[in-house]
């Protein structure tokens, strides 16, 4: 028996000392393999007397189990240590900076974003979005809109012209989005509710004027819409667009050839600080022109102004963007300076909706 005790302590000591899984396997083979020290002892059991076997059998089996367990336990320890070592060796510096992801670095231009905001607001009120060409006829840009030939009202628009054609026609770049009113009324049956965003052009350039800019126009034609409805629409629009609970507005009589009565609209603001705030303060800021569509314009579109009536309004998209988002200079809108686009632009997933808010 003492031999067995010696054998056990030798094997267990070797197991404890094993530092690798391969070394441990060698020990297992040496002890429990076919010709291992314990296996050899097991083979002697057959030749033993029943009495001897009664004591040696359990003793040997016990030894075998203990060695097997010790090997398994040691194996777990060694595997754990090996994994620890591997993990330690695999450590990286997770503070290393990432490359910016494209979805984070791209930007939508404020003009596009504001058009999306306008679309969200007016779509909810049942307005479709109408469009028309930039190169227009004199008829649609002026005459049909009740600008008489040679009238000084035409001089209010510094118009870009193309060269006169052989047939005497002279095309121009639209000076406002209003020709699309005519195109819409001539092709659609009332009731009409559209907004018309788009590029417009005037021969003018300084800090607040660029030869190209963006306007949005609204048009409602039916059998009953009047100035009171127009007021309501513009009040609702301004509150929603500027994201304020309430905003005071002032409607002043004005003149546009294509509306009668005509008005200009100011909104309440506070200009005392560095940024203009809307819905508070004692200042007024002009933001748009509007009015009831002139009977001559309705007539020019083949409708009877005693039967049909409606209103229109127009405002600058760039200016709306400047007022809401604080850009100081209109010219920068068209300069494509990435620093400006990055600063004033919007992330691709910032989709303006009424449910989720126009801006976040």
């Amino acid at each position: 028996m003492s031999d067995l005790n010696t054998l056990e302590s030798e094997i267990l000591a070797a197991i404890d000392a094993a530092s690798t899984e391969a070394g441990l396997e060698d020990i297992r083979v040496a002890a429990l393999g076919k010709k291992g020290s314990i296996s050899e002892q097991m083979k002697t059991l057959g030749k033993m007397s029943p009495e001897e076997r009664k004591t040696m059998g359990p003793a040997l089996n016990g030894l075998k189990d203990r060695v097997t367990d010790a090997i398994a336990a040691r194996k777990t320890v060694l595997a754990e240590a090996a994994l620890e070592a591997r993990l330690a060796s695999e450590r990286v510096d997770v503070t290393l900076p990432l490359r910016p992801s494209p979805v984070e670095s791209g930007r939508i231009h404020p003009v596009s974003q504001v058009i999306d905001e306008l679309s969200a607001i007016f779509a909810d009120m049942g307005f479709a979005i109408a469009e028309g060409p930039d190169v227009e006829t004199d008829e649609l840009n002026f005459t049909a809109l009740n600008f008489p030939e040679g009238h000084p009202a035409r001089d209010m628009h510094d118009t870009f012209f193309f060269n006169e054609k052989d047939n005497g026609e002279r095309l121009l770049l639209r000076t406002h989005t209003s020709p699309v009113q005519i195109r819409t009324m001539r092709t659609q049956e009332p009731p009409i509710r559209v907004i018309i965003p788009g590029r417009t052009y005037r021969c003018d350039s300084d800090q607040t004027h660029t030869p190209m800019f963006h306007q949005v126009e609204g048009l409602v034609i039916d059998k009953g819409s009047h100035l009171g409805h127009l007021k309501w629409i513009l009040e609702e629009f301004c509150k929603t667009f500027f994201e304020v609970d309430d905003i005071k507005m002032r409607f002043r009589p004005s003149f546009f050839p294509f509306t009668e009565p005509s008005m200009e609209v100011d909104i309440q603001c506070d200009r005392s600080g560095a940024e203009v705030k809307f819905g508070e303060g004692d200042d007024w800021m002009e933001i748009l022109g509007c009015g009831m569509v002139h009977p001559n314009v309705i007539r020019n579109c083949g409708l009877d102004p005693d039967e049909y009536q409606g209103f229109a309004w127009g405002m600058g998209i760039d200016r709306l963007a400047m007022l809401k988002y604080g850009m100081p200079d209109l010219r920068a809108f068209f300069d494509a300076d990435v620093r400006w686009i990055q600063h004033y632009g919007f992330r691709p997933l910032d989709m303006p909706t009424l449910a989720g808010g126009l801006s976040s």
């Binding site: 900076p97 490359r99 494209p102 979805v103 670095s105 791209g106 930007r107 939508i108 231009h109 596009s112 999306d116 009120m125 049942g126 979005i129 469009e131 060409p133 930039d134 190169v135 009238h151 870009f160 012209f161 193309f162 060269n163 006169e164 770049l173 509710r193 590029r199 021969c203 030869p211 190209m212 409602v220 819409s225 009047h226 100035l227 009171g228 409805h229 007021k231 309501w232 009040e235 002032r250 409607f251 002043r252 009589p253 004005s254 003149f255 009668e260 009565p261 005509s262 009831m292 009977p295 068209f334 494509a336 300076d337 990435v338 620093r339 686009i341 990055q342 632009g345 691709p348 997933l349």
Partner: protein, 806 residues
Amino acid sequence: MKFTLSWLKEHLDTNAGLDEIVERLTMIGLEVEEVTNPADRLKPFTIAKVLEATQHPNADRLRVLKVDAGDGGEPLQIVCGAPNARAGLVGVLARPGDYVPGIDVTLSVGKIRDVESFGMMCSERELELSDEHTGIIDLPEDAPVGVSYAQYAGLDDPVIEIGLTPNRPDCTGVYGIARDLAAAGLGTLKERAHDQIRGDFPCPTDVKLDFGDTKPLCKAFGLRMVKGLKNGPSPKWMQERLIAIGLRPINTLVDITNYMTFDQGRPLHVFDAAKVTGDLAVRRGVKGESIEGLNGKTYEVDDTVCVIADDNGLESLGGILGGEVSGCTDDTTDVLIESALWDEDGIAATGRKLGVNTDARYRFERGVDPDYMLPGLEMATKLVMDLCGGEPSEVVVAGKVPDDTHIVDFPYSEVKRLTGLDVSHAEINVTLKALGFWISGTGDTVKVAAPSWRPDIEGKADLAEEVVRIVGLDKVPSTPLPRIGSVAAKVLTPGQIRRNRARRALAARGLNEAVTWSFVTKAEAEAFGGGAPELALANPISPELSDMRPSLLPGLLTAAQRNADRGYPDVALFEVGQVFADDTPEGQSMVAAGVRRGTAVLDGAGRHWSGASPAVGVFDAKADATAVLAAIGAPVDKLQVYTDAPDYFHPGRSGALKLGPKNTLAVFGEIHPRMLGLLDIEGPLVGFEIYLDNLPQPKAKATRSKGALDVSDLMPVRRDFAFVVDKSTPAETLLKAARGAEKALIADVTLFDVYEGKGIAEDQKSLAIDVTLQPTQKTLTDEEIDAVAKKIIAAVEKATGGTLRG
């Protein structure tokens, strides 16, 4: 249009203060743009009396004054260098702390040559009243000491400037503005004088309107002589008013015409009768004639220009500008006063053509009150006689003052119909009558005639505007527009949706959206497929912005270069916007285009610890174009890649994505080196253009169902093949052949290797593909797989002429 408060009050009897008047003007459509008061900057200065003036102990030219400021305090000691400083002088005092505008100095207590000075006595120049600086202001002895000088001198008179809309010629005179305010309930209009001055002799100069059978550019012309007068500076009150609104007094006769222009909106002209030879002819100009205007400029005329001529030649550009030849001077003793009525369109056309803007043109092109032509002449005559004396002739009138009275059938209900505002018939009547309208009839519809000074009134909508303007737009009740249905419907068109998606897709790929000009240079237009003469502006604002763009690329490419020049060489920009193929509406189409410059690839630009970004290449542009096409719903699996991209791309590194040979959806590539030179920009630069309008219209779908998912439970089998083909063989040809070899089984073919070099002949390349076979009924046997492989090899070899790589 500018006027002073006191001027307004000459025509309007009112108790209203400045603020109320300003507010009311704006609210009736005469928008006040600015109110300035010259007295504001003169506020600190008071009238003071010099009690003593003694010689300065240390300076010959200086005196030490003791000044009574009139505030009951001790006399102030002031050192003064003015030669007229003397005891007893009453002048204008500035004290320490006061800002003196003419010398741009805020006074403090000074010490001049060891004598303390507690202020200064001012000259007119120091107060910016005039250029006078020979001495200090010397007021009459009875000027009230201690009183504000501005108030005493009548300078406390606010100047109001209104932005006049072109439909209101009646308010180009202070009288008309007063009439509008009176109608709005802000006081009573003082009736203007209607003097009829009897002429003592026939007007020696006759007038003829001579337009033959052409359109008369002058409707009527009144003329009268006043002889034996004495011209010279106009009276102080008139000069002050003219100066206050920015006009320069010339002499009484000229000032009267300017005064009438602004007071009554009635421009006149005065000829020095001594310089006029023979009668006056009002006619069209003749090519070759020219005239030197009173503004010192010479104008060439032609038969579109209306002129007034005497026997010597041109004397005036009718209704716009008088001639220098017959202008009135201080020596004028006999004057011819003209009050005429000109054709509005003729005035506007001449003004534009000759580029001359005058106060007369401004009024005549908008429409001057025809009925006031002769009363205006009478009033001017009276002013001339009152201020210069002289003896008036009878009036000669050529032509006839037209009767433009226009009667409108006006249903009272029109006010409510158009404005939503309830106004009683009585209030409508009062309002219109106060504005000078004439109303006749009873019942729900009446006849209304506009006064002669309102050429803008055309129909009943104009009358509704007059009522709501005066009653107040703030009274119009805000009324909700009825909703159409309860949940808002989809309103965007397929084109609009595509543009939005293209925009967001490109931004999600890291590109920044730009908005560039719709115009480019002629050279850029030509280089990018445009430059047609019908798309060149006749009046471009600069040569850089002269032609409508045929492509978005020149704008984006030059923008990329501007960023590079600012120190940002790696930029990715895009734009979604219109391009122009011709000048018809159909010639305008929508394009999404983008450029990447330097190393601005999808994963970011520049150097990075994980590896530096490569220079942008053709595949970056192809990836952008393809991604956008997928995002906007193009049938991407049906797209074919062609190599015939436009010639502004590198011919060997560009392509076109098409649906069939004719319908190009997109082009992409590296920018042709020649273009870089032409635009004066540097690469590497790649670009793409997506022709959004070329996409097929989406088909209307019966349901929104995506159909059942059809997948097989059987394992897919993958096999690799490598083929050696000619270098010029497009990979697309090989892939297409492999995909088509056994459509029922081949689920996917990908190209995973392209190899040229050792082991492959010089003019050849190896293309390796990975083919996925997806069985649907039962697992494939080796024989079945081999059979498909043979088909693939045969198909590829047939299509490409290549061989399986051994």
